[in-house]
C-alpha cells in the first residue's frame, strides 16, 4: 500500500519535475550556451527549393554547438509542403518541439493556437526574449500584427526593417534600350513604345523571337506591381483602397480603375507584349527566364536571381493615375516564422534559441553563416560575404542556401540596414530609391482574425479571389468581353463582396477607436 502511494505520488510529481527541469537547465550566467546540460529539440519547417539538407548547413551545425541544443531535423521539402504541414498538425503521435520557418498562415496560427497545439509565447517573450521584445518596442506595428484576437501571441514574425526587402522592383533591360536608342520609360506611352521595340528586337541574334518584352512571375505579382500605377492599394493585404479620410475601405475589384488596368493589359497582351505564361507558369520557369536574359521589363524583389549588369530598377510608370502607390509588405512581413508546440518540454530554451537569432550577432550567424568562412567584417564591423558568394555563377541565393536557411523566404530573421547586403546589392538599393517616393501613404497590414471569422473569410476570400482572378485572366485573354463587366460586378456582389469588405472594415474601426 505504501509503495502504491509512493508510486502515485511520484506519478503526480512527474509533471512538476518536468516543469522545474525545463527552467533549471537554462544557463543563467551568459547568453550562450543556452542550456547547461545538453538537450535535444526537434524542429519542423519548410526546406526551400534551393536549400541543402538542413542538418548539413553551417548555420545549424555551428548554432547547435553554440547553444548546447541538439536539433532533430524533421523539415519537409518545398514541393508538397502545404500537404506536409497540414499532415504534421494532424499527426496523432505528437508534434515537433519547434516550428522554424514553417510558413504558417494567419488562419493556421489562430486555429492551432486555439486548439492549444501552439503555445502562447507572450509571457515567455517578456521573460526570456530580450532581443525580440526590444524589436517589438522599436517597431510598434509588429505586436498588433502578431497578436491574435484572444490576446495571445502564437507565432513570431520575421522583422524586416529594410524597405528594399518588402517591395517588388521594376527591372528594365538597359542594353536593349541602348541598342534601340531609347530612354528609360517613365510614362505608359514610353513604356508601350519600348515594349513594341523590344518585341521585334532580336537581342541574342538567334533569329527567333524568344525575347519577351514584359513579364511577371504570376498574375498576382503582376497585379501587385501594376495596380499601384492605376491608383489602387492593397490595404490589409487585400485588394482594397482606403478612402481619403482614412475611414472607409472599398474593394477595387469592381472599380473602373481596375477595369482600365485590365483593358490596358489586354491591349498589350493582344500585341504579344506581355508574357502569357504568367497565368500558369511555375516560379522556377520564371527564374529561368530572368537568368536567361530574355526579358525586357519584369518584376522581382531583388537582383539575386539574375545578372543585373544590364538591368536597372526604375520608377512606376505615370500617366494612368494622379496618385501612384507602391505596395510594400509590413515590417513583420513574414508571419508565422516560428512557433513552439505543446509537446515541447523546454519552451524556455526554445524561445531563447530563437531570440538569439534576433540579436545583431545572431542575425549575422543566421544570414551569413560562420565568420571567417563565409563572411568577414568590414571596417565598421558589419558583415560582408567573402568572394564567390554574391558573384557565384550559380546565383547568390542558391549558394547561400547551402549554409543557411533564409533564401526562399519565410524564415525567422531580423533584417536591418547592416545585415541585408544580399538583398540590397547596390543595384537593388538604387531600384528601391526609385520606388521610395511612392511609398509614403498609410498602409494596413493583414491582421489576424478569430477562428469563426476565419472560417467565413476562407469561403468568401476563396470565392471572390478565384472568381475575380479567373475573370480578369479571361478578359485579358479575350475569352470574356469587357461588355460583361456589369455581370462580373454583380456576381462579385452576389458572392458577398460587401460582407468580405465589412469584415476588414470592422477591424479598421477598432483601430480608429
Amino acid at each position: 500500500m505504501k509503495k502504491m502511494l509512493c508510486l502515485v505520488l511520484a506519478l503526480c510529481m512527474l509533471p512538476l519535475f518536468g516543469l522545474a527541469d525545463s527552467k533549471d537547465i537554462l544557463n543563467t550566467e551568459s547568453e550562450l550556451p543556452i542550456v547547461t546540460e545538453p538537450i535535444t529539440l526537434s524542429i519542423f519547417g519548410r526546406q526551400g527549393g534551393t536549400h541543402a539538407e538542413w542538418s548539413t548547413m553551417d548555420f545549424f551545425k555551428a548554432y547547435q554547438e553554440m547553444t548546447g541544443i541538439t536539433l532533430d531535423f524533421q523539415q519537409a521539402p518545398f514541393q508538397g509542403y502545404a500537404e506536409s504541414k497540414a499532415l504534421m498538425f494532424a499527426s496523432p503521435d505528437g508534434y515537433p518541439d519547434m516550428l522554424v520557418a514553417p510558413a504558417l498562415t494567419g488562419a493556421e496560427i489562430i486555429k492551432y493556437g486555439e486548439d492549444e497545439v501552439l503555445i502562447p509565447l507572450e509571457d515567455l517573450l517578456k521573460e526570456y526574449a530580450p532581443h525580440y521584445t526590444a524589436l517589438m518596442e522599436k517597431y510598434p506595428d509588429v505586436e498588433g500584427r502578431i497578436t491574435s484576437p484572444d490576446g495571445h501571441i502564437y507565432a513570431l514574425a520575421a522583422i524586416i526593417a529594410v524597405n528594399a526587402a518588402r517591395t517588388s522592383k521594376i527591372w528594365c533591360n538597359t542594353a536593349w534600350l541602348e541598342a534601340n536608342g531609347l530612354a528609360v520609360p517613365a510614362t505608359f506611352e514610353e513604356l508601350e513604345n519600348a515594349l513594341r521595340v523590344f518585341k521585334t528586337y532580336d537581342a541574342n541574334g538567334n533569329g527567333e523571337a524568344d525575347e519577351i518584352p514584359m513579364a511577371a512571375a504570376s498574375f498576382g505579382e503582376y497585379l501587385t506591381t501594376m495596380a499601384g500605377m492605376f491608383g489602387l492599394q492593397y490595404q490589409f493585404g487585400q485588394r482594397m483602397n482606403l478612402s481619403e479620410d482614412g475611414k472607409t475601405l472599398n474593394s477595387w475589384l469592381t472599380d473602373d480603375r481596375f477595369k482600365e488596368l485590365l483593358q490596358w493589359t489586354k491591349a498589350m497582351y493582344d500585341e504579344g507584349l506581355i508574357d502569357g505564361d504568367m497565368f500558369t507558369q511555375e516560379r522556377t520557369k520564371y527564374v529561368a527566364k530572368m537568368g536567361g536574359g530574355v526579358l525586357g521589363i519584369f518584376f522581382n524583389q531583388a537582383d539575386d536571381a539574375f545578372d543585373s549588369t544590364n538591368y536597372i530598377g526604375i520608377a512606376p510608370f505615370s500617366g494612368k493615375s494622379e496618385k501612384i502607390y507602391v505596395q510594400s509588405g509590413p515590417v513583420a512581413r513574414d508571419m508565422g516564422t516560428f512557433a513552439i508546440t505543446c509537446d515541447c518540454e523546454y519552451p524556455e530554451a526554445a524561445i531563447r534559441w530563437i531570440d538569439y537569432l534576433f540579436s545583431d550577432e545572431g542575425s549575422y550567424l543566421m544570414r551569413y553563416g560562420i565568420e571567417g568562412k563565409t563572411w568577414t567584417r568590414d571596417a565598421d564591423g558589419y558583415p560582408v560575404y567573402v568572394d564567390g558568394i554574391l558573384d557565384n555563377p550559380n546565383g547568390s541565393g542558391p549558394t547561400i542556401a547551402q549554409f543557411t536557411i533564409w533564401p526562399g523566404g519565410g524564415s525567422p530573421q531580423y533584417l536591418n540596414d547592416h545585415n541585408c547586403i544580399a538583398v540590397t546589392s547596390p543595384t537593388t538599393q538604387a531600384a528601391q530609391t526609385a520606388l521610395d517616393p511612392y511609398m509614403d501613404y498609410l498602409l494596413y497590414a493583414e491582421p489576424l482574425f478569430d477562428a469563426d471569422t476565419n472560417d467565413r473569410l476562407m469561403i468568401l476570400a476563396n470565392d471572390i479571389n478565384t472568381y475575380a482572378d479567373s475573370c480578369a485572366a479571361k478578359m485579358i485573354r479575350g475569352e470574356m468581353s469587357f461588355d460583361e463587366w456589369d455581370t462580373y460586378c454583380k456576381t462579385l456582389e452576389d458572392m458577398g463582396l460587401a460582407e468580405w469588405v465589412s469584415i476588414y472594415q470592422e477591424r479598421l474601426d477598432t483601430y480608429q477607436d
Binding site: 502545404a82 500537404e83 504541414k85 497540414a86 499532415l87 498538425f89 494532424a90 499527426s91 496523432p92 488562419a107 493556421e108 486555429k111 492551432y112 486548439d115 492549444e116 497545439v117 498574375f219 502569357g276 497565368f279 500558369t280 505543446c342 472560417d455 476562407m458 469561403i459 476563396n462 470565392d463 478565384t466 472568381y467 482572378d469 479567373s470 485572366a473 479571361k474 485573354r477 475569352e479 456576381t491 452576389d494 458572392m495 458577398g496
Partner: protein, 314 residues
C-alpha cells in the same frame, strides 16, 4: 458449373460442428477480415468528423460536436462555387460516361469484325498500351503535346494554317481534353471484358443468322449486341456508381488558374481544404456528401436496371 451434391438437412446444433470442420477456411479469413475492419470500416467511423470540430489534440472521438451539427455542410453550400463544383464533377463524369462507356463496346465490336487475326491482335494490343501509363505521365504528355508554342498538336494546326490553341490554359478545352484523354487511355483496356464476352458467344448463333441471310451489320445488331447485353448492363451500373467519384489526381494535375472554373471538382476541393489547409472537418463533410450521393446513384441504377432490364448487380 459444378453440381450441388445433396446433403441431408442437419439439426442446428451441428451447424457449429460443421463450421469447425472447416476451421482452416475460417483461419484463412481472419487476416483479410481484420484488414477490412481496420482499413475500410474503422475509417468509416471517422466520417463523424464531418459533424465535429476536429481538434488535433483531442482526436476524432474526443473532438466536440459542431454547433449546429451541419455547420460544415452549411459552410460548403454557402460558397458560391458549391454548385459549380458539383456540376463540374457531374459534367466531367457524364462526358466520360457518354463517350467513354460506348467506346470500348464499339471497339470490341469492331475488333470482332476484323477478319485478319494478325491485324486484330495488333490493334488490340496497341489500344491496351495507354492503360499502362500512369496519370502523371498522361497529364505530362497532354501538357507537352498541347503546349501553345512547342506542342505537336499546335504544330500540326499551324501547318494547316490555323491559329495555335492554348488547350491547357482554357476552360473551353478542359472537359474535352479530360474526356478524350480518358477514352484514349482506357478504351482498349475496358474493351477486354466485351471482347471476352463476344468470344463466348456461341458460333452456332452466327451460323443460324447467316443461314437466315443476315448481313454482317444485322448480325452485330441481332446477335452480338444481345449476347453481350448482360455484361454491358453490369458494367453500366458499376459505372453509374462512380458518377461522382471522378479520380481527383488527373483533374488536380491538369488544373491551373485559367481552367479552374471547369476543373475545380469536389475531390480537388476536398484535397485543397483538407490535406493542404488542414480543415479536416470541412473536407470530410464534403467528401461524405460525395460518398452518399454515390451510394444513392448506384442503388437507384441497380433498382432501375433490375426493373427495366431484369439485370442487376445484386
Amino acid at each position: 458449373m459444378s453440381t450441388v451434391s445433396p446433403r441431408p438437412v442437419r439439426p442446428g446444433s451441428r451447424k457449429i460442428r460443421k463450421a469447425f470442420a472447416h476451421w482452416q477456411l475460417l483461419l484463412l479469413l481472419v487476416i483479410p477480415l481484420a484488414w477490412y475492419i481496420i482499413f475500410c470500416y474503422t475509417p468509416m467511423f471517422g466520417v463523424q468528423l464531418a459533424f465535429k470540430n476536429y481538434k488535433t489534440k483531442l482526436g476524432i472521438w474526443g473532438s466536440p460536436w459542431a454547433d449546429p451539427l451541419f455547420k460544415h455542410f452549411a459552410r460548403y453550400f454557402s460558397s458560391y462555387y458549391a454548385w459549380s463544383t458539383i456540376w463540374n464533377t457531374l459534367a466531367i463524369n457524364l462526358g466520360c460516361l457518354a463517350i467513354g462507356f460506348p467506346a470500348p463496346i464499339l471497339l470490341a465490336l469492331l475488333l470482332n469484325e476484323i477478319d485478319s487475326l494478325r491485324f486484330r491482335k495488333i490493334l488490340q494490343n496497341i489500344t491496351y498500351v495507354p492503360y499502362f501509363l500512369s496519370i502523371v505521365v498522361v497529364v505530362s504528355m497532354l501538357r507537352l503535346f498541347c503546349d501553345e508554342r512547342y506542342g505537336v498538336f499546335n504544330t500540326i494546326l499551324q501547318t494547316f494554317g490555323m491559329k495555335a490553341i492554348p488547350f491547357m490554359e482554357s476552360e473551353t478545352y478542359f472537359r474535352p481534353l479530360y474526356v478524350i484523354s480518358n477514352v484514349w487511355q482506357n478504351m482498349g483496356w475496358n474493351a477486354i471484358i466485351y471482347i471476352a464476352a463476344l468470344a463466348g458467344v456461341d458460333p452456332a448463333l452466327y451460323e443460324a443468322a447467316t443461314m437466315d441471310g443476315a448481313s454482317r451489320i444485322q448480325k452485330i445488331i441481332h446477335v452480338s449486341i444481345p449476347c453481350i447485353l448482360p455484361t454491358i448492363v453490369t458494367m453500366f451500373i458499376l459505372r453509374i456508381g462512380q458518377l461522382m467519384t471522378i479520380g481527383f489526381e488527373k483533374a488536380y494535375l491538369m488544373q491551373n488558374s485559367l481552367n479552374i472554373g471547369k476543373s475545380e471538382i469536389i475531390s480537388t476541393l476536398v484535397y485543397k481544404n483538407g490535406i493542404q489547409k488542414g480543415d479536416y472537418s470541412y473536407a470530410t463533410a464534403v467528401g461524405l456528401m460525395n460518398s452518399v450521393v454515390n451510394l444513392i446513384l448506384i442503388v437507384t441504377a441497380n433498382t432501375v436496371c433490375r426493373r427495366a432490364l431484369d439485370e442487376s448487380l445484386w
